[in-house]
């Protein structure tokens, strides 16, 4: 994770089961699983294993200890499954998510839609630093951004990727980098690999 002076930049913490919670849902983006991480999670979540469901997106689960295990293909499937579970979760339940930032916020915003409050959700960033970028000019989203400047997938403007973050959109702000001097694009660096 990158730290920043920008106040809207989220700060992530390790996942710790909240024993006050009723049922617990752990959602993990498979590509962010370093060797031994699943075993580590199984240990951390052992106290709530009887009330735990784990959704693994894009990875196979070789071990037990993670409650009732479900395998999903992608973040989009996680979002769909949460939407379908609209009435299935209670105000005492807890959600834990591990993944890249676009994954974390796809899940967090989908959970907010079905009523999860901020204090019911824990987010832990792992893996790539790639960003979802929201264009302040055309309001289009550009996914998988790893560079300091990116061509907007919506309008094509060259956007400077900022640390300003929107929890509502689950995306970083991108502003036109050559608005004052058209065509003058600073060097593009790979900074969010």
């Amino acid at each position: 994770m990158m730290h920043s002076d920008i106040k809207s930049r989220p700060v992530y913490q390790p996942l710790v089961p909240d024993l006050a919670g009723g049922r617990h849902l752990l959602v993990v983006e498979g590509e962010t699983l370093a060797a031994g991480r699943l075993e580590e999670l199984a240990g951390v979540f052992a106290p709530v294993q009887a009330r735990l469901h784990t959704w693994l997106a894009g990875a196979a689960a070789p071990l037990g200890g993670l409650g009732k295990l479900w395998q999903l293909e992608s973040a989009a499937d996680v979002v769909d499954a949460l939407a379908c579970a609209s009435r299935g979760y209670g105000v005492g339940d807890r959600l834990y998510v591990q993944g890249t930032e676009p994954f974390l916020w796809s899940v967090a915003t989908a959970a907010a839609v079905i009523g999860f409050g901020e204090k019911q959700v824990q987010l832990y960033h792992a893996g790539s630093l790639r960003r979802r970028v929201w264009c302040t000019h055309c309001h289009g989203m550009t996914e998988g951004v790893t560079t300091s400047i990116v061509a907007c997938g919506g309008c094509g403007r060259h956007l400077l990727v900022r640390d300003h973050f929107s929890r509502r959109l689950g995306a970083f702000m991108g502003v036109m980098v050559d608005a004052e001097a058209p065509g003058e694009i600073p060097a593009i660096e790979e900074v969010f690999a």
């Binding site: 909240d18 006050a20 919670g21 009723g22 009435r87 979760y89 209670g90 105000v91 005492g92 339940d93 807890r94 079905i114 009523g115 999860f116 409050g117 901020e118 204090k119 019911q120």
Partner: protein, 316 residues
């Protein structure tokens, strides 16, 4: 109507049940009242025989109403004087001084479902909630714990409203609070207003069921909280020493001495009256200061809190 206080005229009085009086208030100058939203309260100055009492009452009138405000007042056996005055002395046509409406108990309008639990006269803030929720269409339920005989009392405000359930103290009629709280979908917000024992029971049950505290909202009754042993307080900036009687609050005594102290709810909830405590140990009875702030001993809420022992010195 502008200015620091409002002048309200009593337009109608009605005893709607033993110990329950309904009061309809209009602007004394015949104009419009400021609008108040669901959950709002108004503070009335009631001139008792010995002194002036200032009590806050929930508005039960329709949210936004500007022609009249309505309150329902229960006669408290150990009354500080305010409810006794309203039940025994208040007359139609009388003009009362009142504060502007405040709201420390507004519903969370982003909630997916609104769950309300009332104990007795604690139903009053929810009468305005129900009017709002009926209008907005948000899913809601009100659970009222009261005497069996009091169910019909609130019919004029509840008539035809769905989602109201009644409970009283008899086998088969008690509210199963843990079962109710365990069955609520994500996105539910809980509001409770009732006697301290009921509030504590519901708060404990909510915590045990894993409710985040951001989703639990409690309005406490303030009136019975403020009395206790008499003590003295010195107001350092004013150079005044006040004697706080057994049946009055520190705030009452400060006001009686003619010292201006800001306040809003008079029930230890809003934090407006928080006053620096220079010397002495406070017995904290409010719901505003955190455990850390209480331990630090630098602030006191004079509307409900008192001296633990000896004399207090306030920066006032």
């Amino acid at each position: 109507m502008t200015g620091e206080t409002l002048k309200l005229k009593v337009a109608a009085l009605a005893d709607i049940a033993p110990g329950l009086r309904h009061v309809r208030l209009v602007a004394a100058d015949g104009g419009k009242l400021p609008p108040a939203a669901a959950g709002a309260h108004v503070q009335l100055a009631l001139a008792g025989a010995a002194r002036t009492y200032r009590n806050a009452y929930s508005l039960v009138s329709r949210p936004g109403a500007r022609d009249a405000w309505e309150i329902i007042v229960r006669r408290v056996p150990t009354s500080r004087g305010g409810s006794a005055y309203i039940h025994e002395c208040l007359q139609v046509g009388e003009v009362l001084e009142a504060g502007w409406p405040g709201n420390l108990f507004a519903p969370v309008r982003t909630a997916r479902r609104q769950l309300m639990i009332a104990g007795g006269i604690g139903i009053t803030p929810f009468l305005s909630y129900l009017a709002e929720f009926a209008f907005s269409g948000v899913e809601h339920a009100l659970h009222v714990c009261c005497r069996e005989s009091e169910q019909q009392v609130f019919d004029p405000w509840l008539a035809g409203r769905p989602g109201v359930s009644w409970y009283w103290d008899a086998d088969g009629h008690r509210l199963d609070i843990p079962a109710l709280l365990a069955a609520q979908p994500a996105g539910t917000h809980l509001y409770l207003c009732g006697p301290a024992a009921m509030n504590e029971e519901v708060l404990a049950a909510a915590a045990a069921a894993g409710w985040p505290d951001t989703h639990v909202h409690c309005e406490h009754f303030g009136s019975a909280l403020s009395g206790g042993e008499a003590f003295r307080a010195f107001l350092a900036r004013s150079g005044v020493e006040v004697e706080v009687g057994e049946d009055e609050s520190l705030l009452d005594a400060i006001e009686r001495a003619g010292v201006n102290a800001p306040c809003l709810c008079r029930g230890g909830a809003c934090g407006v009256c928080a006053t620096p405590l220079l010397e002495g140990e406070a017995e904290h009875r409010d719901h505003f200061l955190s455990a850390e702030e209480r331990a630090a001993g630098l602030l006191i809420m004079p509307c409900v809190s008192r001296a633990r022992a000896g004399r207090l010195v306030l920066d006032l």
